[in-house]
């Protein structure tokens, strides 16, 4: 029962965060710089025909006070009306849905690549024979963080499209077209995840229980993959939402480099044209994905780690220790960065 309350509370918290994001972005975009929409629509260089512009002006009710405008937008949002693009006059909902359907595939492929890459690098950094190989792999995260994604994209493009001609840089080749951009995203975004994974694995590999496993005759392979990996990967679970958020945001650069027309490209265009209803919708979409995944990882955490006592089953034994675990787990990325010579934080992912 208590676990259900816990779930309800967490869901409510997540909804609150999304609502606050919406409010914050709305007032930043609509209110702070005067009336951008009005300026935009009445500007002579606006591509919209006069009649459409006037219809939009009427739709957005600029004569109302900011709070009333906000109320109006929210009530429309609740009815599923996201407004209209100031540039094309088309429905924001349709445009975003169209862009998202392409970019979510890109992000999903990139997500798989990121996990695979992080695991490969982290396992190499901890288990590869030879100190040189291990320390090389160990320095990969910082290299990943340092390389701007457009550099990675152009280098991949130059090698695989222009030099080797394996992938076309213009023609749509279905799934193949996703590979280079997804790889670019994975290379650019994996750094922080890999870093946390390496630390987790190193810590788990040094844990006393590994000695006991070895002493009872468990094979080195099974120790590494069955025990160390499981224990060492738990802290990095809190980073998954972050990774997905970064992948979606990183699409802005990557789609520009690979001239794709997904959500990222739409973001690029909307920011360029100051198409505020579009920007608002995109930001809300991406941060909802982030908050949603964060919520899910939070809720499945107790299933993955039995030490985290669900509120419902909290027994008399060591409740304090269990709470500390939760605390530590949820702040893992932040505290990881705190320890010298170690992981970058959430912020660093944003590269």
């Amino acid at each position: 029962m208590q676990y259900r309350n816990h779930v309800i509370r967490r869901v409510a918290q997540a909804l609150l965060v999304i609502a606050l994001v919406y409010t914050l972005v709305f007032f930043t975009l609509f209110v702070l710089p005067g009336d951008p929409i009005e300026n935009k629509l009445t500007s002579p260089i606006n591509p919209l025909p006069q009649s459409a512009a006037e219809a939009l002006l009427a739709y957005y009710n600029f004569d109302l006070a900011p709070l009333q405008q906000f109320g109006l937008t929210v009530s429309r949002l609740l009815q599923g009306d996201l407004g209209y693009s100031l540039v094309s006059g088309r429905s924001v909902g349709e445009l975003v849905a169209q862009g998202f359907s392409d970019t979510i595939v890109l992000a999903a492929v990139a997500f798989v690549f990121t996990i695979a890459l992080s695991l490969a690098i982290a396992l190499t950094a901890v288990y590869a024979p030879g100190v040189a190989v291990r320390s090389f792999a160990g320095s990969m995260p910082i290299a990943s963080i340092s390389a701007p994604s457009f550099l990675i994209g152009f280098v991949l493009l130059a090698i695989f499209s222009f030099q080797l001609g394996w992938v076309s840089s213009v023609r749509d080749q279905g799934f193949v077209s996703y590979i280079l951009p997804a790889l670019t995203l994975a290379l650019a975004v994996n750094g922080p995840l890999t870093q946390v994974l390496i630390q987790g694995l190193r810590k788990a590999a040094d844990a006393p229980f590994v000695t006991v496993l070895r002493a009872k005759g468990t094979s080195e392979r099974r120790i590494a993959l069955g025990h160390v990996l499981k224990n060492g990967a738990i802290p990095s679970i809190t980073m998954l939402a972050l990774i997905v958020g970064e992948l979606l945001a990183g699409a802005v650069i990557v789609e520009a480099v690979f001239t794709r027309t997904g959500l990222g490209f739409m973001t690029f265009e909307s920011v360029r044209d100051q198409d505020t209803p579009m920007i608002l919708a995109i930001v809300i979409l991406i941060s909802s994905v982030y908050v949603g995944i964060n919520l899910v990882t939070d809720l499945i955490y107790p299933i993955l780690d039995p030490r985290i006592v669900r509120p419902a089953r909290a027994s008399g034994r060591r409740p304090r220790a269990a709470n500390q675990r939760i605390e530590r787990a949820s702040t893992a990325p932040a505290t990881a960065a705190a320890t010298p010579g170690e992981s970058p934080t959430k912020a660093s992912v944003d590269a």
Binding site: L16, V17, I18, L20, V21, L24, V25, T28, L29, L32, P33, P36, I142, A143, I145, S146, P148, F150, L151, F154, V155, L157, A158, F162, S169, G245, E246, L248, A249, G250, V252, I253, A256, T267, F268, V271, R272, Q274, T276, V283, I286, S287, Y290, V291, N294, A334, T335, A337, A338, T339, P340, G341, P344, T345, K346, A347, S348, V349, D350, A351
Partner: protein, 290 residues
């Protein structure tokens, strides 16, 4: 047990001997030396770009347009025949200054918010923490774009935008560090010796939590550089023709098939700079830890 003891001994001997700095220099690896050289060159480019740059960064040379890297033009030339090396050198100041502004904003505001949240707790902490949650739930680059839309395009505005979007990270690490340090036994011990709240905060809690924040700063500095160049790569930052690193990449895009160095070289310069800065920060951290 014996292993731990040995390590203890190592620590004792390494720090007890004099000339620690001299020995540190001797211990520097190739990567460290390279990092120092890169950061040195970058700083020189900021202070005196004219000394390093072989050409005028804005002077077109039609005869030499899109020349590949050569002895005369190390980084090649762009579509107007301008020397890319000179443009990179002259662009350093803008990019670096932007990063300094961004980090200054993020560090300043974030540290104060984090310290306030952790010290006062209660409702203050709850409010600040919710704000941080909200800010962190928007990926940094996207948040920076939103702020840029509000502020308008340009070098300074994009730097401010990047700064604002890094506030949450600084706030969170400062808050969690202060909360961690606050619970450490030595803080309690200092109160036990009679230390007042203000004394312990200033003498123990702040210095001990700040070191973690400072190590984030180096990282965040490199990150700010990448974000700022990303924004100008997308065309929201510095306007042409003045050189800026991200802008250089953006300008070279059209010619990426025939002259890939126009995008790759400035991109590599950014990567090398960020990498060197983080390497150096690691080095200084190792020294303070020793």
């Amino acid at each position: 047990m014996s292993i731990r003891l040995q390590q203890d001994r190592d620590i004792i001997s390494s720090s007890a001997e004099p000339g620690a700095i001299g020995r540190l220099v001797a211990r520097l690896g190739v990567a460290d030396v390279l990092a120092i050289v890169v950061v040195g060159l970058v700083l020189l480019s900021v202070v005196a770009p004219g000394v390093l740059a072989p050409f005028d960064p804005l002077e077109p040379d039609d005869a030499n347009a899109l020349a590949a890297p050569s002895a005369a033009h190390w980084f090649g030339t762009d579509s107007l025949g301008r020397d890319l090396l000179s443009r990179v050198i002259h662009g350093t100041g803008r990019t670096l200054l932007g990063s300094v502004v961004a980090v200054f904003i993020g560090l300043g505001v974030g540290t104060i918010l984090g310290l306030v949240a952790a010290t006062f707790g209660g409702i203050v902490d709850a409010v600040i923490s919710r704000i941080v949650d909200v800010l962190l739930s928007i990926p940094g680059l996207l948040l920076a774009m939103v702020v840029v839309v509000a502020l308008g395009f340009g070098t300074l505005n994009s730097a401010i935008a990047v700064g604002i979007s890094s506030i949450a990270a600084f706030t969170r690490i400062m808050r969690s560090e202060v909360l961690t340090v606050k619970d450490l036994p030595f803080v309690e011990a200092s109160h036990h010796l009679g230390g007042s709240r203000a004394y312990v905060l200033a003498r123990h809690i702040f210095p001990n939590s700040y070191s973690a924040v400072l190590s984030l700063t180096a990282l965040q500095f490199g990150l700010a550089m990448i974000w700022i160049s990303s924004l100008s790569f997308l065309g929201y930052g510095a306007p042409p023709p003045d050189p800026e690193w991200g802008l250089l990449v953006s300008e070279g895009r059209q010619y990426v098939v025939s002259s890939p160095w126009l995008v790759v070289v400035p991109g590599l310069v950014i990567a090398a700079t960020v990498l060197s800065i983080s390497r150096l920060s690691q080095l200084t951290r190792e020294r303070t830890a020793a």
